[in-house]
């Protein structure tokens, strides 16, 4: 599923990378606040759901070749994180939903967890 389709189906706001959404193919979803864990199971095409907003989230996503990041609970990353995401071409999205709620919505439209694929 393309990231563009997810944005159309679910109440998320695009902070960075509107123009990249049609090309980003999502294979699985991981909900995780531990970047160490993300780096340990990283596969290309993962959509990361996280509560963190710091610059390391963007660097982790870029290095692990994740397809995009959705930040939960309505948190807004700082200007430096936004700028870094633009530079490293990491789509950054935000939602007021909490982590489980967003994951439920993603599951409803047919997305699966990283391990189950």
């Amino acid at each position: 599923m393309r990231l563009e389709e997810i944005v159309e189906a679910i109440d998320v706001e695009v902070l960075v990378g509107e123009e990249w959404l049609p090309q980003r193919e999502i294979t699985t979803v991981s909900a995780c606040d531990l970047m160490s864990d993300v780096l340990a199971f990283a596969k290309p095409g993962i959509l990361l759901v996280t509560g963190l907003t710091n610059s390391q989230v963007v660097r982790t996503a870029a290095i692990a070749q994740l397809a995009g990041v959705i930040i939960v609970r309505g948190k807004r990353p700082g200007a430096d994180t936004i700028e870094l995401a633009r530079k490293m071409q990491v789509p950054l999205l935000s939602t007021s939903m909490h982590m489980f709620e967003l994951c439920s919505e993603l599951a409803k439209i047919g997305l699966v967890g990283t391990r189950t694929q």
């Binding site: 531990l34 160490s36 340990a40 596969k43 996280t50 390391q56």
Partner: protein, 152 residues
């Protein structure tokens, strides 16, 4: 084996700088992309470099990442001046960590760093002197795509 060095660069890493931590690894990522390594190789090298860099940021005072590229392999040496590692076997165990709360708030310190470097490398050597520092050498063979990270 072709040992001709096609690229080498030394990148500095500042201990304790959690905001800029990872910049050197991102530079390595850009360099390897420009040198046209495959996405799988770039990902493995990037993850290994980033974990090594964040270890310097989290635990050491000062360090650097030395990148050397030959047609056959990518070598990244992470060296730091810092507390060193008392028990390397213990540090290599998944889940073992001496991280502070500040480190954990950044999403690191899960005790996965060194094991993850090993997983993404074709060869990894680590040496350390307590009170002096640590040296981690990461080798990634350019013709070896690797399956470890994909299989996880």
């Amino acid at each position: 084996m072709n040992n001709e060095v096609v690229f080498s660069q030394e990148l500095e890493v500042e201990g304790g700088d959690f905001v800029r931590g990872g910049e050197s690894s991102c530079r390595i990522l850009e360099i390897l992309k420009e040198l046209a390594f495959s996405p799988a190789i770039v990902r493995r090298a990037g993850i290994a470099a980033y974990e090594a860099e964040m270890n310097i940021v989290m635990y050491a005072e000062q360090g650097n990442l030395n990148l050397t590229v030959t047609p056959d392999r990518i070598v990244i040496v992470a060296e730091d001046r810092g507390p060193g590692i008392e028990d390397i076997d213990l540090a290599m165990q998944e889940g073992y960590s001496t991280a502070t709360d500040e480190i954990r708030e950044m999403g690191f310190g899960a005790g996965m760093g060194l094991p993850n470097i090993k997983k993404n490398s074709d060869d990894m050597e680590i040496s350390s002197s307590v009170g002096e520092g640590t040296r981690v050498q990461i080798v990634i063979r350019a013709n070896h795509e690797g399956t470890s990270s994909e299989a996880a």
